[in-house]
Symmetry: C2
């Protein structure tokens, strides 16, 4: 049976690898970092929406299924630097610090995931200028007992727990000015989850979420939203974050209330930016090395959005997960399985 | 190789069947109606969001892939009436008008889809009482040149083309009173698509959408929303539909503007209800016959939402698509492939 190359060791790539191995294929999994688990591990996700289930309950077994499978060869800290040939016989050069090796593959799965939008681009929000303007990924790390603040939410400026916290949604999402008109799909639910976690830990804190539309469309998300309002008194205000200023060590925000065009002014101790989802370097690199099509935003383009969602523009090269566009963890796992099916049925025929 | 039973001939079941057959399995596909294609065919979907691509371009090849595959046996107008045994050997009785047959299967995939919420329950909207209050599925049929009005949007009361049209979002969705607190995921995008189709065909018409949050999170959805506002002048107003009245043959609506609590009053010629998504009879019946778990809303519950999204509470019985909860067509197709992978890797081991 042929060997399949999977590029990317986040949830999608891990799931694709273990399903393919389960069907009897040999798999080589190439991951650029020296760990598996992608963004979940990188940003020390602590609890997952909507159930506030420990992230480890999900990512650990997904990693273990790969590491314990003798049909899967894991190349950490490695990159695919060149690919030649065509379906069903590709030759790929895999490079790491020890050197380069070439292997032959029947199919290639690209599961290179996403990277967060860098909010430094939105200068008006003060990220990078004001220490207490942080990203939701940084908050995720803080809320983790194994993170840099041992589970405490702390203001980077003085190490104190903030009392008034504002969360800005859609930072680098739904924003034509920065070239990302699309929705990040996960910002609303992650912010709602973090707001609950903060209120749970610090009941006296005040948490304000500024949003354009609350897009709580996933399993259990709407219920989580109700819980945040009713049980935790998180204050959701419709308005887009416009500007952050710092005067006499006091952070202040301005938001635009979108219905009445009424400006909102508000002094807070910390501002959390729900940073959007962008195509990562790994995705852009894979597109280049493999010569497969990207969409207008740099994400990988399926051969046919409806009919061939997991096939790239090139025969024998498959795509799955958040390298195709923003996607939550639950659906990345489904994508990992779906791409495995497509690879298997194509290799069979 | 074992035979797999797939229950449901909508997009998800069709995709699962063809991927399984592609991997070498024999498949029996059981569909309760006398046609394949599920809701897409039932409601004569004409164009799909976000590309306004003809629905036939998608559903026809998905059906053909099943009908032309000699490894798939299609039982139309049939039901699975009883199942005994356990994984990997189930015996299922399949019944149709000609009688009953029993077959042995290695695995069972449930892909019984959804049904729309029946808006007659929301009496205040007047559906069933006022002829010109229609559902988005009825509009879908009207907009189809092969539909009952040959592609024309017509008021059922007098056969005239309406000039002022209002669309109510979230009918039977995000509504605790009717027991459906969850989001239907597709209402916003379908309404936006229909609004564009109406304005395209009748440029002089006025289309008003009343919504709580515009949840345009899918591929190309946000861009479609922008197009509806900028290119087609569809008027989106934040407010929930509250009541519809009829006086001197004039329809009138009341909506609640949710920011300022300001009531909206509006006379229109037609009201379209974006009816939510509910667990269908086929799903409820399958859960009963197979003895698998449902969630609070009647949808099928995965063994583990993250780790085993396509496995039911019973070994060897799999679930996929909109019988697990609201889902759009693109993602149903991905689910169909994902469940095929899981069946294949489990049957192999």
């Amino acid at each position: 049976m042929k060997t399949v190359l999977v590029i990317g060791g986040g949830v999608t790539g891990l799931k694709a690898a273990s399903e393919l191995a389960g069907m009897g294929y040999n798999v080589s999994l190439v991951e650029k970092e020296d760990y598996l688990g992608g963004q979940v591990v990188k940003h020390k996700y602590y609890k997952l929406a909507p159930d506030l289930r420990p992230a480890g309950d999900v990512i650990d077994p997904v990693i273990k299924a790969v590491e314990s499978n003798s049909n899967i060869k894991v190349h950490k800290h490695s990159r695919v630097v060149s690919v030649s040939g065509s379906a069903p016989e590709f030759k790929a050069k895999i490079k790491n610090s020890k050197g380069e090796s070439e292997e032959t593959f029947g199919a290639i799965v690209v599961a290179t995931g996403f990277e967060h939008f860098d909010p430094i681009v939105k200068q008006e929000y003060g990220y990078g200028r004001f220490k207490d303007v942080v990203t939701n990924s940084e908050v995720e790390e803080m809320l983790n007992p194994n993170g840099p603040t041992k589970g405490e939410l702390k203001r980077p400026s003085d190490g104190k727990v903030p009392k008034k916290i504002a969360i800005f949604q859609c930072v680098g999402s739904r924003d034509k000015q920065v070239g990302n008109p699309y929705c990040c799909r996960v910002g609303c639910v992650v912010s709602t989850k973090q707001a609950i976690e903060i209120k749970e830990k610090y009941p006296d804190s005040e948490v304000y979420v500024y949003y354009m539309d609350m897009r709580m469309f996933g399993r259990g998300w709407e219920e989580l939203y109700g819980k945040a309002m009713e049980d935790y008194e998180v204050i959701f205000t419709r308005g887009r974050g416009a500007e952050v200023t710092l005067k006499n060590q006091q952070l202040s925000l301005r938001a635009e209330e979108t219905i009445m065009d009424r400006p909102i002014q508000h002094s807070v101790d910390m501002i959390i930016l729900a940073a959007g989802i962008a195509a990562g370097d790994g995705t852009i690199e894979a597109a280049k090395v493999l010569g497969i099509k990207q969409n207008d935003y740099g994400f990988l383009a399926p051969k046919d959005d409806f009919l061939s969602p997991n096939e790239s523009s090139k025969a024998g090269i498959y795509i799955a997960g958040a390298d195709k566009g923003p996607l939550d963890i639950e659906n990345c796992i489904v994508e990992g399985a779906a791409v495995a099916a497509k690879v298997a049925s194509n290799l069979k025929n």
